[in-house]
């Protein structure tokens, strides 16, 4: 990268959260030995169900809450006991947080003013930032004169204006409607790549996390379950929780032998960390299953498992068929199958079909 007057912003800062613990009154362990290492300039998303501690982790890094144990290092410096105002973090909140008595420009300039920058510098920087988020024309508007999406953009500009060591995004898109949300999501990624600031993004929306982040950390009960690239996370979930939480998953009874699960009349290779030989449940994605009408004879000539269609839904870009496996004992498993949107009409509830695994590797857990 070329030499710019803002080395911190252009190169990014390394963040190390080590063994963080945070206990809330009532002995609720919001964070329980949470460790996360973010490389300089990296975009990491923390994903998890509500109450998993992801927001707490971000607030600890911001200094808005104190850790009950563990250390926080930013750029090699221990900031565990440094107050928020001296941590140099840009933050965008879930709630709209623009100062209501200031215009967009004044909001963006606020942090620069605190850094004693002169008027001309401030103006220039604020104009650049508002330009970056595409709101140059709204510079003189107050928060109540802007839409939610615009307010969050200004908040982003305000956070980036101070050239923070780390950019913290605390579910910044949650309050927006679907369309603005995906638009702003892509824009956040573009801007992050442009400025290169190390970023921590907290969200409960897996699509959001998978779409923007370099690496996604899935959290559960105050701990990091897995930290991996979106594709890795989806294809090679390390734990059943991750497999379940990220993407849709079918839980199918199977028999494991020699690292292979026998299911749906076929074989599924198992990922590391799967259950050993014996009865188990294998977690198969809806797109990891093929479907064909009985008697078509086409796909899965080797057979497959007989099932009855329960529902067929058209989902826009794709379609989903839900079928119940025929079982000799009790009620069979329900299986979701992803199909092309043009194929949805080929299936109707009550119709008999054959299901077979595609053979993508999956995770199996012991059946208990």
């Amino acid at each position: 990268m070329t030499a710019t007057p803002s080395p911190a912003a252009s190169r990014g800062t390394e963040v190390r959260l080590t063994d963080l613990t945070r206990v809330y009154p009532g002995n609720v362990r919001a964070l329980d030995g949470f460790t996360l290492h973010i490389a300089p300039g990296e975009f990491v998303a923390l994903l998890g169900p509500s109450g998993c501690g992801k927001t707490t982790a971000l607030r600890l890094l911001a200094g808005l809450e104190d850790a009950d144990g563990g250390t926080i290092e930013v750029g090699g410096r221990d900031v565990t006991n440094v107050p928020t105002s001296k941590r140099d973090m840009g933050m965008v909140f879930q709630a709209y947080s623009l100062f209501p008595h200031m215009t967009a420009r004044q909001n963006v300039e606020f942090g620069l003013q605190l850094r004693k920058q002169d008027k001309a510098t401030r103006h220039g920087r604020a104009a650049d930032m508002l330009d970056l988020v595409g709101l140059s024309k709204q510079a003189d508007r107050y928060a109540h004169q802007m839409s939610g999406g615009q307010q969050q953009r200004v908040a982003l500009a305000r956070a980036l204006a101070i050239e923070p060591q780390v950019l913290l995004l605390d579910e910044p898109l949650s309050a927006l409607d679907a369309k603005v949300r995906s638009q702003l999501r892509d824009e956040i990624r573009r801007i992050q790549l442009e400025v290169g600031t190390t970023t921590l993004f907290v969200t409960h929306d897996q699509e959001e996390a998978l779409a923007v982040a370099d690496r996604v950390g899935v959290m559960n009960a105050g701990r990091l379950e897995q930290l991996a690239s979106p594709a890795q996370l989806y294809k090679n979930p390390a734990t059943p929780f991750v497999a379940d939480f990220v993407g849709l998953t079918n839980r199918l009874h199977c028999r494991v032998a020699g690292g292979v699960a026998q299911v749906l009349g076929g074989a599924v290779p198992l990922l590391a960390g799967s259950a050993g030989d014996g009865l188990a449940i294998v977690l198969v994605r809806p797109e990891g299953v093929t479907i064909a009408p009985v008697g078509s004879g086409g796909s899965g000539g080797s057979g497959g498992a007989a099932a009855t269609v329960v529902s067929a839904s058209f989902l826009g870009a794709s379609g989903k068929i839900v079928a119940r496996l025929e079982s000799s004992e009790g009620v069979g498993d329900l299986v979701s199958v992803q199909v092309d949107n043009t194929d949805v009409t080929a299936y109707a509830p009550g119709q008999r079909v054959l299901l077979a695994p595609r053979g993508d590797a999956a995770l199996a857990v012991s059946a208990t």
């Binding site: 928020t84 001296k86 140099d88 840009g90 909140f93 947080s97 008595h101 606020f110 942090g111």
Partner: protein
């Protein structure tokens, strides 16, 4: 359509009747005061001599020193009360909201307590405290301001509470702090500007209350405007009523000016 029209006219008529009656209710005593102060009791007919006396400041100061003293004291008291009240309440209430939400009910209870305590009881309770105030700070009337702060707490609390509820103090202060603002700056540059209306109305109520306060000042033998007026009434009834009317008008002007200042800053 015509029924709706008559309906609307009926409602307008009712509205004006209510406003008219209210105005009459408030204005008649004032008119009575004006009529009384312009009556020439010795020669009959009308005289403006009480009003000319009142306007002639040097003369009033010389002939009725108590009145001038009382006026100055009340002004100082209004100012002190508002300043101390704001310094006490704004940071406390903001802090409770941000850091100690569990204490909200307690603080509210304490602030509303003075409403339930009659002034006379308050004085009894304050007497030993004021023995110390007098010992440490002197006998000045202005120290009554401390008691007045307690007196205005309920009204000020209500106004400020409404203002704090209207903004997301937590997120705003967290945003400001992440941008590098100290707590003092968060208070001064973020919280206070967004509480302006609430601060203004709290100050309003406080000023109005202080300018009209008689009981506590009288029982502590301090001379504020109301006490001076009361004493004057014993020797010169007409002039005392003239002062009363003038002080009402003055209070009205002060409050009007304050609301004007508040609005002007906003635009």
């Amino acid at each position: 359509m015509s029924t709706r029209h008559t309906e609307r006219r009926k409602r307008a008529a009712l509205r004006w009747t209510v406003i008219g009656l209210t105005l009459v209710f408030f204005l008649i005593p004032l008119y009575g005061m004006l009529e009384f102060t312009t009556r020439d009791l010795i020669n009959g007919g009308r005289t403006g001599k009480f009003w000319t006396t009142l306007v002639d400041v040097p003369q009033v100061t010389e002939r009725y020193p108590a009145l001038a003293e009382g006026f100055a004291s009340s002004m100082a008291l209004a100012l002190i009360t508002v300043v101390v009240m704001l310094l006490l309440l704004v940071p406390t209430m903001t802090w409770v909201r941000l850091r100690l939400p569990g204490l909200t009910r307690t603080v509210e209870f304490i602030c509303l307590l003075p409403l339930t305590v009659p002034a006379i009881v308050l004085v009894v309770g304050l007497t030993p405290v004021y023995a110390w105030v007098t010992y440490l700070l002197g006998e000045g009337t202005v120290w009554l301001g401390l008691a007045y702060v307690i007196l205005v707490l309920p009204y000020a609390y209500r106004s400020l509470d409404a203002g704090l509820r209207a903004i997301d103090v937590k997120t705003l202060s967290e945003a400001a702090r992440s941008l590098g603002a100290s707590w003092l700056r968060v208070m001064w540059q973020i919280v206070l500007p967004n509480l302006r209306t609430a601060v203004l109305s709290a100050s309003f109520l406080s000023v109005a209350l202080v300018l009209g306060e008689f009981t506590i000042a009288n029982l502590f033998s301090r001379k504020n405007l109301q006490v001076a007026m009361f004493e004057l009434g014993k020797s010169d009834g007409q002039l005392s009523v003239a002062v009363g009317l003038a002080s009402l008008v003055f209070a009205f002007v002060v409050l009007f000016a304050m609301s004007f200042v508040g609005r002007k800053e906003k635009s």
